[in-house]
Structures are given as C-alpha cells and as structure tokens.
Amino acid sequence: MNAVEVAGLTLALGGRAVLSDVSFAIAEREFVGVLGPNGAGKTTLMRALLGLARPAAGSVRVLGAPVAFGNPRVGYMPQTRGGLDGMRLRGWDFVAGAVAGHRWGPPILGRADRRDVERGLGLVDATSLAARPLRALSGGERQRLLLAQALLGQPRLLLLDEPLISLDPRHQHSVVALTRDLQRQLGIAVLFSAHELNPLLGALDRVLYLGGGRAALGTVDEVITGPVLSRLYGSAIDVARVDGRIFVMSGRHPVEHDHHRHA
C-alpha cells in the first residue's frame, strides 16, 4: 500500500491550473520534501490530499483508499498564521481542542482522549510547553504544539505545510530533526513542504519538486539537477554544490531566495 498515489492529477486554483497531469506515488514509510517556487502548488497539493481541493482531473488515493474528507489517518499541520499571537489559552487546551473536534458536543475529553493528547505532546517533547499560554511561546515552540496536534489519532500520513517558515536556522534544524525522528520511530509517511532544500538535506528520503504545473519525484541527486529543474522552471537552471549545501541558481541568482517572502 502506498501512502499517496496520484495519477493524471490536474489541480486548478481560481481558474488557473496549478498542477496538470501529474502522477507519482509515495511509499508508506517515506520522508518526502515538497519543494518548488511560490504558487507551484505545494499547499494546493496538500489540500487535495486532505480532500479540501477537488481535482479538475485525475485520481488521488491516500493510504490505499480514494481521498476522503476528514480522514483521521492523515495528520495536518497548516502554515502558521499570526492569529495565535494574542491567544491566552494554554498549549494543552490548544492541542486538546483538536481531539475529535468535528464532533458536536461540549469540549470534555474522556480518558482515552486525554491519553492521546499526552502522547502527542510527549512525542514532540512539549509536555512542559503545554502548561504555558500560547502567546508566551516562541514560533518554534508553537510549531511543536502544532506537530503534537497533527499526531493526534495516530495518523499514518503527516502533511506538514511549511513548518520552517519564519524560524531561524537553528530552530529549522531542530524541527527537521524532530520530524525525521518521529517519522522513523512511528514508521509513517511525511510530506514536508519547504521553500529551501538545504535545511532538509540529510533527512529526506526523496524530493517532490513542483514547478510549471509539473512534478518530479526522486532522490535529491536525481531531482536537484540542472536539466530536471530547468524543465520545471521553464528556464535555464544551474545547480551548484558548495560544502554539502545545494544552491539552485537561475543565471547568477539563487532562485530560492526570491521566494522567501511568503504571501
């Protein structure tokens, strides 16, 4: 069984085709980095895997079944917003709010639900953070709570949308290392989208690079090459390797740095 199977997928956003006729498969215990310029469809692809964006064409299978809206086996961590800056609620209630949050009724957790929250917090080493109000936490600490939330209900597939955004390099490294450890320990599949490849190097099994409506899936050495990226970007791309780091260059400029500003 594959974690994700996409065949002939076309996704449109506001009338514009973001991905067209894309096919790939991601295995069950794979850590895949989803890369590509802004607007390449990273978030839209994740929304399609969640059943939130309907494909214009093609099929999407998740964990061996056609994509289902609200699948409890899929954990999701959206891009962080500034909306939590003023939140005075403590981390525990923030994570617990996601437990069976789609069910009607008062927000009272049973013993099994509470254990699930403790487990999620324990996995990301956020048990002590859970006692503090969200507004008192740093960006990296909030990321850990969001990750704990995504791990509720023991998912088999994690979709992490730009977890590294607005984190400094040190925190980027710790988020990647934590995700990698969890992915191995739990034996789950992870799709991890990012603007930059370098923080993910060494952690990834494969890279899914999106661009120009197309997608390329393979190891870093297979995908991050001049010819493959030139095809995705639709312009001449060079790949430079310096000291174990990889720079994707368009002419004389690194393309990734053009996309740091996120909308």
């Binding site: 929304r47 969640l50 059943g51 939130l52 809206f69 609200g70 409890p72 899929v74 999701y76 961590m77 959206p78 891009q79 800056d85 003023g86 939140m87 005075r88 609620l89 403590r90 525990w92 209630d93 923030f94 617990a96 709010g97 996601a98 069976a100 949050g101 789609h102 069910r103 009607w104 009724g105 008062p106 927000p107 503090r132 109000p133 507004r135 008192a136 740093s138 990296g140 600490e141 969001l146 939330q149 995504a150 400094d168 040190r170 925190h171």
Partner: protein, 288 residues
C-alpha cells in the same frame, strides 16, 4: 432587601443572564468577535422599539432581531465580519431607526432609557420565565456546538480539514450571541452589554490559561458583578447598570494588573540564561 418581591425577581434575572453572558462571552472573546456582540445589541434596540411600536413586548422584538442579525452576520462570513466600518454603519442605522420608532411612540423617555441602560428592577415574573427559558435554550445550543466551535476558533485550517462545518458553527454561535445580547439588554441595556458579555470573559482569560477554569471563572465573575451590582444599587439608590459597569471595569483593570505582575515575576524567576543563549527563550523584555 430580599423581603421585596422586585428585588428577588431582579436577583434571579441578573443571576440567569450573568451566567449565560459569562459563558457565551468567553467564546466571543476567544474568537475576537466582541465587536459583533456590541453591534448585535445595537441592532436589538431597533427590534425592541419596533416591538413597542406595534404593541408587543420589547424582549421578543429584540430576540427576533438579534438572532436574525447574528445569523445574517454569520452567513456574510468572516471577511464581512471584520469590516468594522460596514458593521459600524449598520449599527448606527439601526440605532437611528430605533430612535425613529421611539419618536412615533412618543413621550416614553423612560422606555428609551430602560432599553439603552437596562431596568433590572422592572423585570416581571413573566419575564423571568422567558429569560430562564431562553437562557437554557442558549446554553444547550452552546453545549452542542462548543467542541467544533473551539476547534474552528483555535485551528481553522485543521478544523476544515477534519470535517468541521465552520460556517454552520459560526452562524449557530452568532445566533446564540444574538440571544445572549437580547437577554443581557434586559439587565444592563443595549449600550452596556460589554459589561457582562466581554468584561468578565476578558478578565477570566487574563487570570487563567485553562479552558475549563476560564469558563467557570468568566461565569463566576459575571454572576458576582450582577448580584453585587444589584446589592450596591439597593443600598446607594444609584442605577444597577452603573454598578455593574463599574465592577466590570474594576475587575478587568485588576485582572490586567495581576496578569502583568505575575508574568514579570515569572519571567524573572524562570529565565534561564542557557536557554536564552540557545534561542529557546527570549531575553527579558516586555512584550505587547
């Protein structure tokens, strides 16, 4: 003072409405929708005066209009709810229209004052029954939507992905808010619904970061404000709404001071230089 019927009725009315306002207000503050509560109360003024004009009880006119207003606001969606100017214009128009209705009704300045600033001492036994029934209905509705409401408030994107019907939950919640503002207006008037719906909830959120404790504290503070306000009004002969407003302001100010003091104290004692060095903790400074 409890030997008087009107005081017993007033205490019952204030108690019912305060508990409801504290609980609903907690979610209202958490969602950052306090302005919506304010706006719905103003719209309710039109409903109340309209009802008076056609000879109906103002409470029911208000209930009808605030609930319809809440549903309408919910249907317009988040983007529209954040349009302060549009909401401000609608509520100004509503107040103006309410004034016109009063003008046609003529000569009832006391009626206007009661609607704007509340008249808890004028609550009848029949009104108590209505208030209790509406409060129980509101609390039942809140209990049913509370879990998805909380989820959609804290993590809207994840809630959407997990199948929460956010729009429906938002509409239902604003209908409950509408009902609550109508109830609240009976006690403190349309202009002062903040004192029971927002003040206690905001103070509770300053005092505790726990959800359950916050809800209980919010209801408790609102209840204390209502009952103490009535008691003070009885002994001073000043308006009840004044006392409730004053208690609300003082409670919020005290909670702010306590919260700031507690945070500074904690920061001083807990700041670990090694963690600051690693970037896990920010260096000492006041945050917004």
């Amino acid at each position: 003072m409890l030997e008087y019927d009107f005081m017993r009725t007033a205490f019952a009315a204030a108690g019912i409405v305060a508990v409801l306002s504290g609980l609903v207000g907690y979610f209202l503050v958490l969602r950052g929708q306090t302005f919506a509560g304010h706006a719905l109360a103003h719209v309710g003024f039109t409903g109340a005066t309209g009802a008076v004009l056609i000879g109906a009880a103002p409470l029911w006119g208000m209930v009808l209009v605030t609930m319809a207003g809440g549903v309408g606001m919910g249907l317009l969606g988040e983007r529209a709810q954040n349009r302060d100017v549009a909401i401000g214009m609608v509520l100004s128009m509503a107040l103006g229209l309410g004034l016109l209705f009063l003008h046609f009704f003529t000569a009832y300045a006391t009626q206007a004052t009661a609607l704007l600033f509340g008249n808890v001492l004028g609550v009848t036994t029949r009104t108590i029954v209505a208030l209790l029934g509406l409060a129980l209905a509101s609390l039942a509705a809140l209990a049913i939507i509370a879990r998805p409401l909380l989820f959609a408030t804290l993590q809207p994107e994840v809630a959407e992905a997990k199948g929460v019907r956010s729009r429906l939950v938002s509409v239902l919640f604003l209908a409950v808010v509408g009902l609550t503002t109508a109830e609240c207006s009976q006690i403190v008037g349309v202009l002062l619904v903040f004192t029971l719906m927002v003040g206690p909830a905001a103070a509770a959120q300053l005092l505790t970061a726990r959800l359950g404790a916050g809800l209980a504290l919010s209801a408790g503070i609102a209840l204390a404000q209502g009952l103490l306000g009535l008691t003070l009004a009885y002994y001073t002969d000043w308006p009840t709404s004044f006392w409730i407003a004053a208690l609300s302001g003082v409670t919020y100010a005290a909670a702010s001071l306590w919260s700031t003091g507690a945070r500074l104290g904690r920061r001083r004692s807990q700041r670990d230089p090694a963690r600051v060095e690693r970037g896990e903790q920010r260096p000492t400074r006041l945050r917004r």
